[in-house]
Symmetry: C2
């Protein structure tokens, strides 16, 4: 079976001359040999800056290069009439310039100068693939890397993946560590596309000697290893490993783990507090090459959470932001949920005068790919992988524009169809939010699988993620005044905004407050009526998505048509379960009927 | 590791003469060679009736044999002074007579005559062991039969198991079918103990030719195969297979499967109705060698259910009663739950003038053994296996007396300790009921595992086992007047008793009725107060069990002491979760405080 080219199957370029040498220049040349030729008289050159004199626009390029240099990954694009030059200081910039060209060439018009540099130094995808070949929280088949305890023989698929990642600016991946000669084979493929491999290891109780020897062996096999990813080790072990890595120039990516063993009986036991409570006291005590990898929200990738306050408080520790491209809690690639609007919101959230994007050195996404023919299970979920890379590069990018880019590149379609498809997809995160857990309360999911509703599924667990719904009201009191005090972890003005039930945004109300069912939201309706309204609306929106898709489905190739149609059917069924179970649950508790007399099952 | 002898490790007998030949007589002789000798002058003889003249009491035995003969499995025991003779018509009777002697010899006093015959023809244990070696709903380690797709090489353990089963009168087992030469090896071991093997096969869509060839091969390998166990096949296939089996004298055990795909929104969709609705119309249309294997209750082995009404309605179909010795919903051998009192209640329930025991030809228990050192995970759970066999033989046996028998045989202990142990164990089923789902409502368990509480765990499933708790009340309306009409499946007087909320027994109230929280039970307290009371009481009873155990624990060998002590700690934690989660759930819903002011978490 040939590999789905995803968003790299439709582009054309004219003849391009390359004025550069090195590994990544070779990669660009190899890419150019495979791209279909466009019929145009435009003359295009790609160069390293020290060879810009070989191109048609040396003076224009020199003038465009900013005084503070491009950096290893930046590039400049200059177009004058029928001449286009893309120039970079180093191989990475050349590679990203090439993919910029590939992405935008057919849309270029007029004279322009563009300078591009990534906002964040490390743009990384984590892979929860196990050596057995299964993928933890994977919804797209098995691993593309591993099978039966070994790295797969044929790395064609891995190479295609590396190419997709590089095309959206990803420069790092983390993989479960397996036999080192095998891992070196994988690293060699990623290296061709400028992607550094880091290894995730589980080794909680090992002594310094063990770590020292293990790390030496890893760098022996992969001299340009990015570093290690660890989870659940102590602060002391993290620093120990970081010191060992420092000798090789490696980074320690230290995941802030969740908590368990909380008592549901104790309303002050609050999972949301855990990461801040644990790591803020350690700020300043970490080695310089430690990146504290923080989940974007304080609980666990729910469909709506506030931003983790830990990101606003770290002063002397490098911070990484962890997002989930895999849709663990957002439909698992059965339901369509385009997450970029939310990721952008997270990245642009201001904490103590700086946006999250400004506060981080690393953006990590948990990958959503597997060995399914279309990579992501749901064909349209490719858009999340695409947008993740693009936002990691440019956190201010517009999520809808990225969707247009992706759709055009993926389907090469006419503008009207593209607009219709984008119209179906753009609001799908908010739609998903509407039919699932209301008002930021989260975790009303089936335990274990995390797909589908189970309103009380985690209500009596040891995870500290309850909703505390009773016959009078619902929500988690995380205020200083009467609750867990979590709001105090935020800088002003957020601390005050979240603390006050009158100013807390509706969509986060139940995350921060326990309120009566008749509490009136800023939107003007009561909490219980909002629960009914938003669930009916969410379901209706899925119906509209399906209807919209049905009007354009026959313009797609059969495999895409069938894949998306089937997934939409499943999504409609899922949305119906969510709507009815959540509505019935709260009707049984509150006894309040829907104002509009719609069907809420007893 | 030597195999735990369970209840066969303490007995002594004097010299016994055997006047019989055949396979089972050989087994008895081999057993006698291993039994420790008691110092007594009593002269004991075991014989087949046609050789009774070789024994000391031929006339007394002849006089004791009833006119309608003993049957193949019956035996007579005559004691006169220092002479005891046990006589049977056939090998099975001889074997069971021998185990009777082993069980009671040390307690025998005075002259007496006893005639014993089993109440039910087939007394069977089903084994949900998979060829892989795991045991579905097994809580005692892996399979004693299978490992990695094969039958285990060393059958010592299987032989010990067969001996334990024969000693309590089991004459049949069902095993997952594996490679036939392997299965023949297993059948040979069971054959020595008079136990017929049946094979469970999954073969839904096979044609007649396939079944014909498969059955021929099975009987080729195991000429005395008991038959086949099938699940989920159509009526037509069942009859087809039964006709093929009839040629070999085999039986088809046809399990009445559960249902799924019901809609929780539909209050008339009732799992409890399913077996009756499906099989009553087929009554009279089954082949004579079909046994319809009916779960004892209408849902699925809950800790409290009414008896399945299907057992009262079948007129022309042979019925089998299926019990679970494995404690799927009753504590999974982590919690102590001696089930015999309930099984006896089921067996003695009268349906249309006959007890369940009288209405059935077969009693089946799903086995609770695995390769754990003590067979059953919880040492004291051996008592369930023991009592199952003894009740299958004699459904009128007293459950507490059986416990005394088992405890004496297992531990050979002094009477005071035995009385204390029996006191701890005898009420453990009702204790388990008290701290788990109240008033017969059932299914408030963790989905999947079925251990531990999850009050809403199955509330929105497709299994039709809801509790419908809302802010006003709780329970399943299964009445004819306003509910699913399930009560009409019972014969009178049960139909009327269950239909009327005033006469329905408290312990089944919520199985049959949806009532308000302030509904007053026959016991005089309200439903919600009963919920609190029984959970607090259940927990206190576990505390008392643990305290009782701690006073006698040091009289047991270390392995038993540690095993039981550890399990009791887990049970106490489990009872606490049940108590608190159920109480909080209903407090949140009802808003009614505990009358006695005990701690119910908000």
């Amino acid at each position: 079976m040939s590999v789905d080219p995803a968003w790299l199957g439709t582009q054309r370029l004219p003849e391009v001359t390359v004025h550069a040498s090195g590994v990544l220049a070779q990669t660009v040349r190899a890419e150019l040999r495979q791209i279909r030729r466009s019929r145009t008289d435009t003359e295009v050159a790609l160069c390293l800056l020290n060879r810009v004199h070989e191109t048609p626009l040396p003076a224009e390029v020199q003038a465009a290069v900013p005084s503070d240099v491009l950096g290893a990954e930046g590039f400049v694009v200059v177009r004058r009439g029928d001449q286009v030059v893309v120039a970079a200081e180093a191989g990475h910039g050349l590679l990203y310039g090439f993919f910029y060209l590939l992405r935008y060439f057919e849309w270029m018009a007029g004279d322009f100068t563009v300078v591009e540099r990534p906002a964040t130094a490390v743009r990384m995808l984590d892979h929860w693939d196990e050596l057995s070949g299964s993928v933890t929280r994977g919804y797209s088949g098995g691993s593309i890397f591993f099978r039966a305890g070994r790295v797969v023989e044929d790395l064609t698929r891995v190479r295609s993946y590396a190419r997709l990642l590089a095309s959206v600016g990803i420069n790092a991946v983390a993989l479960t560590s397996g036999p080192l000669p095998d891992m070196a084979r994988l690293a060699a493929v990623f290296r061709e596309y400028g992607i550094a491999v880091s290894l995730a290891v589980e080794a909680d109780d090992q002594a310094a000697e063990w770590w020292s020897a293990a790390i030496a062996r890893m760098y022996d096999a992969i001299p340009d290893l990015g570093g290690l990813v660890v989870d659940g080790v102590s602060f002391e072990v993290a620093n120990l490993v970081a010191r060992l890595l420092a000798a090789y120039g490696g980074t320690l990516f230290y995941r802030c783990s969740g908590v368990s063993g909380l008592d549901w009986r104790d309303r002050r036991a609050d999972r949301a507090r855990a990461a801040y409570d644990r790591f803020v006291p350690l700020d300043g005590r970490f080695e310089k090459n430690v990146v504290l990898q923080v989940k974007h929200g304080p609980t666990d990738f729910q469909v709506r959470e506030p931003v983790s306050p830990l990101l606003g408080e770290l002063q002397e520790t490098r911070a990484g932001l962890e997002l989930q491209v895999t849709q663990e809690y957002s439909g698992q690639q059965r339901d369509l949920c385009y997450l970029a609007p939310w990721w952008r919101e997270v990245l642009q959230t201001e904490l103590a005068g700086q946006t999250v994007a400004q506060r981080i050195d690393v953006v990590v996404g948990v990958s959503n790919v597997g060995d399914d023919g279309n990579w992501t299970g749901h064909k349209l979920a490719q858009s999340n992988l695409y947008a993740f890379g693009r936002l990691a590069w440019d956190p201010a990018a517009d999520a809808v524009s990225l969707l247009h880019e992706w759709a055009a590149a993926t389907f090469g379609m006419d503008e009207r169809t593209r607009a219709e498809l984008v119209g179906i997809m753009a609001g799908s995160w908010r739609t998903y939010e509407r039919y699932t857990a209301p008002l930021g309360v989260g975790f009303m999911v089936a335990p274990g699988t995390h797909y589908g509703p189970n309103v009380n599924g985690y209500e009596y667990s040891g995870l500290g993620v309850q909703h505390f719904a009773d016959r009078h009201g619902v929500g988690v009191d995380r205020t200083v005044a009467s609750g867990s005090g979590f709001t105090a972890q935020y800088p002003e003005p957020l601390a005050s905004i979240y603390e006050d039930v009158r100013t807390c945004p509706d969509e986060l109300l139940l995350f921060f407050h326990h309120v009566a069912y008749d509490h009136v939201l800023q939107s003007g309706v009561s909490v219980v009526q909002h629960i009914y309204d938003s669930r009916f609306q969410g379901y209706a929106e899925v119906e509209a998505m399906v209807a919209g898709w049905n009007t354009i489905a026959d313009r797609f190739e059969p495999a895409v048509r069938e894949n998306v149609t089937t997934r939409f059917e499943a999504q409609l069924a899922n949305a119906r379960e969510w709507r009815d179970q959540v509505n019935t649950f709260f009707y049984r508790l509150s006894g309040v009927a829907d104002t509009h007399g719609r069907r809420v099952h007893r």
